[in-house]
């Protein structure tokens, strides 16, 4: 069991979709059968849709495989193996207070590790030179199980760390935002000519840079510095900042070129690492496939049309994450990219239903995830 998944996660060319379609379908088939046989709730969902995972033969069949909305994981603990076999139980950052509970088995973690190693290698993110890490996120603490905190700290092993500075520190009174410290750390790294890597939500990075700009601070960070962001642009909807002006601000305040700005995208419910290319496109790696679905009918849409993002991967055995419906709207582009990769790329437009914050009906704050 898991033979095709292992093969898929052993591929060296991480964006060679065409030549992995067959193996992807087979890996999905074996993953679907595994969950079907080990997870009663998942079996019920497939049975209700009269879908037999053994019938999966093609990509088209995968379009028919019932997907599970992220919302469903928030209400149901869907585990396909005993909890003892899961070294990690991650929760999503859950701004609405509801969190997905997702289990990860050792094999999935191993696949994930291989994926990260290959992806970072492709994107030239590994470095032996010690760097100052600025983490626009939570300092790890046992009270915080959020996936993003785990990822952010885990990421600090990509290059040797000289120093780690967390924007959100854990104090005896709980978590406290301390952007002043981050600012000082950036200025110090600039003076001492040390490479910096920043990691975290774009919004925090953006607000700090804006403040530094208004204070007239202009740095020229070491050319090996990288600004990495992840966790979504959700907080930006009110500010209406587009990525271009974000990169322009990074250049102006920190002196870091936009080709050294790297963005990641991923979700607890879909633990695949998407990394943008130098033209800032999220190409689809071999480990996953993306289906864009019509917002009214949920039918798959052709490339270039906007719809709901449905993400598929056979990576995980502990929880049936093989076809997940996100709350995001996006477009899958297949018109080629100047970076040379042929794999289609995903443009994320934003969360559904976040814009219309206009209600005074009681209880709606939670519902609209404000």
């Amino acid at each position: 069991m898991g033979r095709y998944t292992r093969k898929l996660f052993s591929r060296r060319k991480i964006y060679d979709l065409e030549r992995t379609n067959e193996i992807f379908v087979k890996a999905m088939r074996e993953n679907a059968i595994f969950h079907f046989e080990h997870n009663a709730d998942y079996k019920r969902i497939l049975d209700e849709a009269s879908f037999n995972p053994r019938d999966i033969q093609s990509m088209e069949d995968l379009f028919q495989l019932p997907f599970i909305p992220t919302l469903y994981y928030k209400h149901h603990e869907m585990f396909s193996m005993s909890l003892k076999r899961m070294p990690i139980k991650a929760t999503s950052s859950g701004t609405s207070g509801m969190r997905s509970k997702i289990g990860m088995d050792i094999k999935s973690l191993w696949y994930g590790f291989k994926m990260v190693v290959r992806t970072f290698k492709y994107h030239k993110l590994w470095s032996l030179r010690p760097v100052t890490y600025i983490i626009f996120g939570y300092e790890p603490h046992k009270s915080n199980q959020a996936g993003i905190a785990k990822t952010a700290n885990g990421f600090t092993f990509v290059a040797p760390s000289r120093k780690k500075v967390f924007a959100i520190k854990y104090t005896k009174d709980g978590y406290v935002v301390d952007l002043e410290r981050v600012k000082q750390a950036l200025i110090e790294a600039d003076k001492k000519h040390r490479p910096v890597r920043t990691i975290g939500f774009p919004a925090y990075t953006y607000f700090l840079l804006k403040e530094m700009k208004s204070e007239g601070i202009r740095l020229k960070l070491h050319k090996k510095s990288k600004i990495t962001i992840g966790g979504g642009w959700k907080q930006f909807y009110a500010e209406k900042v587009d990525k271009e002006s974000f990169y322009a601000l990074v250049k102006e305040v920190l002196g870091v070129k936009d080709t050294n700005c790297v963005e990641f995208f991923g979700a607890v419910e879909h633990p695949i690492l998407y990394t943008d290319c130098r033209h800032h496109h999220f190409h689809i790696p071999v480990y996953s496939r993306v289906v864009i679905r019509d917002i009214d009918t949920l039918e798959p849409l052709p490339h270039g049309q906007m719809g709901l993002i449905n993400l598929m991967t056979p990576m995980v055995k502990a929880t049936p994450l093989l076809s997940v419906m996100t709350d995001d709207l996006g477009i899958l582009h297949n018109e080629g990219c100047k970076c040379g990769e042929k794999s289609p790329w995903l443009e994320i437009i934003g969360r559904v239903g976040i814009k219309d914050i206009t209600t005074c009906a009681a209880g709606a704050e939670k519902l609209l995830d404000l």
Partner: protein
């Protein structure tokens, strides 16, 4: 952006101005002549006419589109700010002789005085709302400190500075700050200066206001509310259509919008066939209104799909199409719907209206009645006893009438006090 005594400042000056705020407010109370209600009314009247004439359409129209507020609904609300309406409002809320109250007895006279200083914490749901709140404060003669809601597009500052331009006397009575809700220390300073905190918003905002107020600060809450329809099985097709039209027009986002329908029956088969009938009507009526935004339709399509995955546990009956739904549940709970043309239908025999609705207490607002004439009086009475503020006809749930109460209370009365003065003999 800060509006302080008629001048606009950038946020950098916030701390400096806040340091001065209490002194300036007290100075106004100490030295300025009292704010005359008629002067406020005249200024509002001029402003309302300018709005109606389309002078601010360049900012207003995009906001209406963005917030999905129907243009007609907006236009309908403008006369609320015109002279006759405001005079009527003052007379209804404060009494016909609000400017010259009759004496209490031969030795004591009375007058209506403002509370003094109001601190308005506005909600972000409608952009004109913060300005409206301040205008109510002014009508009662108060000094107003307004905390803008996050995501304010400058509409409040624009309208209020126009008001000051029209009536310069108002400049000492209006202070607007753009302080985020997270800056509790600053908000506490405002709360300490103010005689009362006016809080608009959901339970979270109301709780926050309660926690920042000292015991001698009055809190006036305009919280979020829930509204619904109550139908008997013989509800007319015409009423069902009007209700469906109201749901499609308001997209269920207003406090007074219908979230769902309670049916006066114990029989679930009857409730289900009622729901199916209403669903068909909703789909038809919906066609007469603007499409729901893509994002909201997408959100609801996923939620309905999710509800179907959970049907084996919830035993819901779901009628749906393109992000629109009517969902029958077997409980009797009043709850928020998925909004944007998604309605729940539940059984609620009239005998248990009070038992099931009353626990929602302060969240209750409007109920529309879809029933025979003979039932109106009994059902209205039950709903009123259960805590409902307003019982309306099917399509009128969000109607605006000059002089109506706000969530069962009169704002101007809340913002005033009666002072009794012994006559000199």
């Amino acid at each position: 952006m800060i509006l302080y005594q008629g001048e606009i400042f950038t946020d950098e000056l916030q701390m400096k101005l806040i340091d001065q705020l209490k002194i300036d407010c007290y100075q106004t109370i100490n030295h300025s002549e009292e704010l005359n209600t008629m002067e406020v009314i005249n200024a509002c009247d001029i402003l309302a006419r300018k709005v109606k004439a389309g002078e601010y359409n360049d900012i207003i129209l995009p906001l209406l589109t963005e917030f999905d507020i129907p243009y007609d609904y907006f236009i309908e609300s403008i006369p609320m700010f015109e002279k006759d309406s405001l005079i009527k409002k003052c007379e209804i809320e404060l009494g016909n002789n609000f400017e010259h109250l009759p004496d209490l007895d031969k030795d004591n006279r009375r007058k209506i005085c403002p509370l003094g200083i109001l601190f308005h914490i506005a909600a972000g749901n409608v952009d004109v709302l913060p300005a409206y709140s301040v205008i109510e404060g002014l009508l009662a003669g108060n000094i107003n400190i307004l905390k803008l809601p996050s995501g304010d597009r400058g509409m409040s500052v624009k309208l209020l500075s126009e008001l000051i331009n029209i009536e310069p006397k108002l400049k000492n009575y209006i202070y607007v700050f753009d302080v985020p809700s997270t800056e509790t220390e600053t908000l506490k300073i405002f709360a300490d200066i103010a005689d009362a905190i006016i809080v608009w918003g959901g339970d979270v905002a109301v709780k926050a206001a309660r926690s920042m107020a000292s015991v001698n600060t009055k809190i006036i809450e305009w919280g979020h509310k829930l509204s619904f329809a109550y139908a008997t099985l013989d509800a007319s097709e015409k009423d069902l259509k009007r209700l469906a039209g109201h749901i499609a027009m308001t997209n269920q986002v207003l406090c007074s919008s219908c979230q769902g329908i309670f049916v006066d029956s114990k029989n679930m088969d009857q409730v289900k066939s009622f729901a199916k009938k209403f669903f068909d009507i909703l789909v038809e009526e919906s066609k007469k209104h603007k499409l729901v935004s893509l994002g909201m339709r997408g959100k609801n399509t996923i939620e309905i799909y999710n509800a179907k995955l959970e049907q084996h546990e919830t035993h819901q009956v779901i009628y749906d199409e393109k992000g629109m739904s009517v969902i029958v549940s077997d409980d009797h709970e009043l709850e928020l719907s998925m909004l944007f043309r998604n309605v729940w239908v539940k059984s609620l025999p009239r005998e248990i209206i009070i038992e099931k609705i009353k626990p929602h207490k302060n969240h209750l607002q409007t109920a529309s009645l879809l029933c025979n004439k003979e039932d109106v009086s009994e059902l209205s009475d039950k709903l009123a006893k259960a805590g409902i503020i307003r019982v309306t006809k099917a399509g009128d749930m969000s109607r605006i009438i000059v002089g109506e109460s706000h969530d069962g209370k009169y704002a101007l009365r809340e913002y005033s006090r009666i002072v009794e003065l012994a006559k000199t003999t």
